[in-house]
């Protein structure tokens, strides 16, 4: 009985590993780019939620925006290869996201400089004047 269980577990593990290896060697479709982009997004969210330094929080926001850009470009390529669309409006969206990200970084860093001049700190848990 336990031998059966062991054999079953071994078989399952082997098939899982072989499927994983097949996935590694298979042509990369849109989903692989989506998974990569999601991992970038998750790392960015982790940075925003856990770091104390406000500068590194800003950099993590850039990571999140970059993950969104990767999604736009991957889907544009996907739909173009499907033959559904001929223009690439996704790229135009990416240009606008880059512009808005630059504006956001400029304003945020301006606020940061004003804040540093008044409070002499960049640690977000010491900036608690409005905390209830």
């Amino acid at each position: 009985m336990s031998g059966d269980m062991l054999g079953w577990a071994l078989q399952e593990t082997t098939s899982l590993v072989s499927r994983f290896l097949e996935g590694l060697a298979a042509p990369k479709g849109v989903v692989d780019f989506l998974v990569l982009s999601f991992m970038l997004f998750a790392i960015g969210v982790l940075g925003v939620l856990s770091r104390r330094n406000i500068l590194i929080i800003f950099m993590s926001i850039e990571l999140i925006l970059n993950a969104a850009n990767l999604n736009f470009v991957a889907f544009t390529r996907y739909w173009q290869a499907m033959g559904r669309i001929s223009e690439n409006m996704g790229h135009v969206f990416v240009i606008f996201i880059i512009v808005v990200a630059a504006a956001e970084a400029v304003i945020g860093l301006g606020i940061l400089i004003a804040l540093y001049r008044n409070r002499r700190t960049v640690a977000i848990d010491e900036i608690n004047l409005l905390k209830w």
């Binding site: 856990s50 850039e62 991957a74 173009q80 240009i95 512009v99 400029v106 304003i107």
Partner: protein, 183 residues
């Protein structure tokens, strides 16, 4: 859109490079190192854009992000730099670090499982005529004409946004003495 052959190798190299750089970014002790890791992430993403035949976007990414935003970050680090983070005694993370790890981990596992499961439902795109049709410079031309025709109004609004951002940042970052002198 299938990325095949030697491009698979590029996909893996760039993907691991980008992820390692991103993890190093959120774990970096010094803000200058974090800025350099951000630069690595952005360059790696530009490589992925090239892999997806988005040449203009890759160029814009390098020019604006790496040449503009990262340099801006480094300037601000120079202005506000706190040396205390470099010493071992300072905490790098807030107290909600564990909660953040758990939430992000759960979200990651759920989403990746869901994406992998739905992957078979997405029709795989194989259009051989289309694959070779895009010449190297055609992408830039298409993006340019789209910016001036279909996206003309957002284009103008973006220029207005940049103007507001410039004026606003100058207004925010000036000192008390400058305010008194020029008001």
């Amino acid at each position: 859109m299938e990325v095949k052959g030697a491009q698979i190798l590029f996909y893996y190299v760039l993907a691991f490079f980008v992820l390692i750089m991103a993890v190093s970014l959120i774990r970096a002790r010094s803000a200058v190192h974090a800025a350099l890791y951000l630069m690595g992430t952005l360059i790696g993403t530009a490589g992925l854009f090239l892999l997806l035949h988005a040449e203009f976007v890759a160029g814009a990414q390098i020019l604006i992000y790496v040449g503009g935003v990262v340099v801006l970050f480094i300037f601000v680090i120079m202005l506000v730099n706190v040396r205390e983070e470099v010493t071992e005694a300072t905490r790098l993370f807030t107290r909600q670090e564990v909660v953040a790890w758990v939430l992000v981990g759960a979200m990651t596992v759920a989403t990746i499982i869901a994406l992998r499961r739905e992957a078979n439902l997405l029709p795989s795109a194989v259009a051989p005529a289309e694959e070779t049709a895009l010449a190297f410079s055609e992408d830039t031309q298409q993006v340019g004409s789209a910016l001036y025709t279909r996206a003309a109004l957002p284009f103008e609004i973006a220029s207005l946004l940049l103007l507001v951002a410039i004026v606003g940042s100058v207004l925010l970052a000036r000192t008390r003495r400058q305010e008194e002198t020029f008001d």
